[in-house]
C-alpha cells in the first residue's frame, strides 16, 4: 500500500496550486537538502513528463527550490524562493527533458558546493506524496513514510551484518531494507527504513565500521 496515513489524503497543508507539482516538488527538494546536510551553492534541476510540460504553471520550479532551502510545503517563503535563492547567491538551472520516464512526475536534482555534490531522482505520485527512486546513481525506493538511514559502503561481505548488529544493539527495528550496487565489488548503498528516529551517536558508530563510507539519515 503506497498510502498509509489519512493525512496523505486529507493533507498536506500547503501553498497552492498543485499537491503533486508544488507540494510534492517541495518535498523532493527538501529530501535532497536533508541528505546533502547543508545549504548547497548551486542546483541543477531536470524535469520530465508532466513536470517538464507544466512546471511553470504549477510553480514546480519555485517549490523545488524552496524545498532545497529547507522550506516545508506550507512555508509562505516558497512563493518567493527564486529571489531568496538569488539573494543567497545560489546558482540555479532548470532543464526540460524529453525522455520518457516510468512516472510522469519525475525530477532529477543535482545540488552541490565546493565540498561535494548529491544527485537524486524523485517522483511525485499524487496528493503531495513522493518517492525517491535514485540516489547518486544507485536505484532505490524510499517512500518517506518512515525515518531512514542511508549507508554508502564497499560491496564486501559482512558490511550489512555489521550495520544490522549495531542497530540490534540499540534495539532499532528495521521495517524495510534494500541494497543496491552499481558494480560487483565496488560501491553499494543500503537503504534502511526503521521504526524510530536515530540518534547521531548511532550514526557515528555506524561510520566507524569497516567498509562503511558514508552514513546519512532522513527523519520521518
Amino acid at each position: 500500500m503506497k498510502y498509509r496515513s489519512v493525512f496523505d489524503i486529507i493533507g498536506p497543508v500547503m501553498i497552492g496550486p498543485s499537491s503533486s507539482h508544488t507540494a510534492g516538488a517541495a518535498r523532493i527538494g527538501r529530501v535532497a537538502r536533508s541528505l546533502f546536510g547543508r545549504e548547497p551553492k548551486w542546483a541543477a534541476i531536470s524535469f520530465y513528463g508532466s513536470f517538464a510540460k507544466t512546471y511553470r504553471g504549477h510553480g514546480t520550479d519555485i517549490a523545488i527550490v524552496g524545498g532545497i532551502m529547507d522550506f516545508d510545503t506550507f512555508d509562505e517563503r516558497i512563493k518567493t524562493s527564486l529571489s531568496i535563492a538569488k539573494e543567497k547567491g545560489m546558482k540555479i538551472s532548470f532543464v526540460e527533458e524529453d525522455a520518457v520516464t516510468d512516472h510522469p512526475n519525475t525530477a532529477r536534482v543535482i545540488i552541490g558546493d565546493d565540498q561535494g555534490q548529491l544527485e537524486l531522482v524523485g517522483i511525485s505520485i499524487g496528493g503531495g506524496k513522493i518517492e525517491i527512486t535514485e540516489l547518486n546513481g544507485f536505484e532505490l525506493k524510499l517512500s518517506g513514510n518512515h525515518p531512514a538511514i542511508l549507508v554508502v559502503h564497499n560491496d564486501r561481505f559482512g558490511a550489512i551484518a555489521a550495520v544490522a548488529n549495531v542497530l540490534a544493539k540499540y534495539a532499532i527495528n528495521i521495517g524495510h531494507m534494500e541494497v543496491a550496487r552499481k558494480e560487483k565489488g565496488k560501491l553499494a548503498l543500503m537503504t534502511i527504513e526503521v521504526d524510530q528516529n536515530i540518534g547521531t551517536n548511532i550514526l557515528d558508530e555506524l561510520k566507524t565500521l569497516p567498509n562503511i563510507l558514508q552514513v546519512t539519515k532522513i527523519a520521518d
Binding site: M1, I9, M14, S50, K53
Partner: protein
C-alpha cells in the same frame, strides 16, 4: 487494515461504528500516535479549510488573472434568493470555488485529496453545516470519513491527474465528499459507499487538461460541479438508490480508464481544453511565448 470499500463498510457495520471511527483507529494503529493527537491534527486541517473558504469568499485573484472572484459572484447571487437549483447546492459550489480560487492564487489550502481538487470536500461540508448543524467533532469526523474513501482510491487506483486524469482528482474528491455527507446526515456505511459509487460513475473518463498547465481553467469550475455532483449523489443514496456496480468495481474501472487515457489528456497541457485556440492564446499571453510553441 482495510484494503477496499467492502472491507471498510464491513468493519464499520459489523461493529456498529462510523466509518470515521474505523479510519481514526487505523491511523492510531499504523502511526502509533494517540487518537487525541490525530484528531487534533485533523482539527487543524479543518481550520485551514475554514480560513481558505473565508479568504475566497472575500475575493481573490490569481497571478495569471484567469481565475478569482466567482465565489463572490455566486454568494451575491444566492443572497438575491431567486436561484433555480437550490441553496445548499449553490452554497457548496461557491465554497468549493472559493477554496480553489485561493489555491490558484498560491494561498494556503489543505489538499483533499489533492490541491487541484481541494474545494469539493470543504465546500460541501461548510454548505451542509447550515442544514445538519453538526458539532465541531462531527465536522472533523467528516474529514476522516472522506479520508477513508480517498485512502481506498489512492491505494487501488490513483489520486493523481498526471497518472489518472481529473477523474482521479475531482472524481475522487467528489466521491469522498458524497460518502462523508451521507454519514454526517445519519446514513449507513453502506449508503455512504453507494453515494461514492454513484458520484464516481458520473466522473469516469474526465480528463486533466489544464490551460497553460495552471491549476485554474477548468479546475476551479470542475470543483464546483464536483461539489454539486456530491450533494446530489448523497441525496440519491439517502433516498435508498443503490449503484448496480459495486463501489470497488467503479474504483477499479476508474483506474483502468486512467491507464488507457492518452498522455495528452493527463496533466500535460497538450490536449483537451488546453489545446483549444483560446486555451493556446491564454497560454501564450501568460508566459509571453509564441503560439507555435504550444502546438508541437
Amino acid at each position: 487494515m482495510f484494503r477496499n470499500v467492502a472491507e471498510l463498510v464491513d468493519l464499520a457495520e459489523s461493529r456498529g461504528i462510523k466509518i470515521a471511527q474505523v479510519m481514526l483507529e487505523q491511523e492510531a494503529e499504523v502511526t502509533g500516535r494517540t487518537k487525541e493527537e490525530i484528531f487534533a491534527q485533523m482539527d487543524k486541517n479543518l481550520r485551514v479549510m475554514e480560513d481558505a473558504v473565508e479568504k475566497g469568499l472575500a475575493g481573490v485573484k490569481s497571478h495569471s488573472g484567469l481565475t478569482g472572484g466567482d465565489a463572490v459572484l455566486l454568494q451575491t447571487y444566492i443572497q438575491k434568493g431567486n436561484f433555480l437549483s437550490g441553496k445548499p447546492i449553490l452554497d457548496a459550489v461557491s465554497k468549493a470555488v472559493a477554496t480553489n480560487e485561493v489555491n490558484a492564487a498560491m494561498g494556503t489550502i489543505c489538499a483533499t485529496p489533492t490541491a487541484g481538487s481541494a474545494g469539493v470536500v470543504p465546500g460541501t461540508l461548510f454548505a451542509v453545516r447550515d442544514t445538519l448543524n453538526p458539532s465541531r467533532e462531527e465536522m472533523v469526523e467528516f474529514l476522516f470519513t472522506s479520508g477513508a474513501f480517498g485512502f481506498v482510491v489512492a491505494n487501488n487506483a490513483s489520486i493523481s491527474g498526471a497518472a489518472g486524469g481529473c477523474q482521479a482528482e475531482v472524481g475522487s474528491a467528489s466521491g469522498m465528499a458524497a460518502a462523508a455527507i451521507v454519514e454526517l446526515a445519519g446514513g449507513t456505511p453502506s449508503q455512504a459507499a453507494e453515494a461514492m459509487a454513484i458520484t464516481l460513475k458520473n466522473m469516469l473518463g474526465l480528463v486533466c487538461d489544464p490551460v497553460a498547465g495552471l491549476v485554474e481553467v477548468p479546475c476551479v469550475k470542475r470543483n464546483a460541479m464536483g461539489a454539486a455532483n456530491a450533494m446530489v449523489a448523497a441525496d440519491m443514496a439517502l433516498a435508498g438508490v443503490t449503484s448496480r456496480i459495486p463501489c470497488d468495481e467503479v474504483i477499479d474501472a476508474m483506474f483502468r480508464i486512467g491507464q488507457s487515457m492518452p498522455t495528452a489528456l493527463k496533466e500535460t497541457a497538450q490536449g483537451g481544453l488546453a489545446a483549444t485556440p483560446t486555451g493556446r492564446e491564454l497560454e501564450a499571453k501568460i508566459f509571453g511565448i509564441s503560439l507555435s510553441k504550444g502546438e508541437q
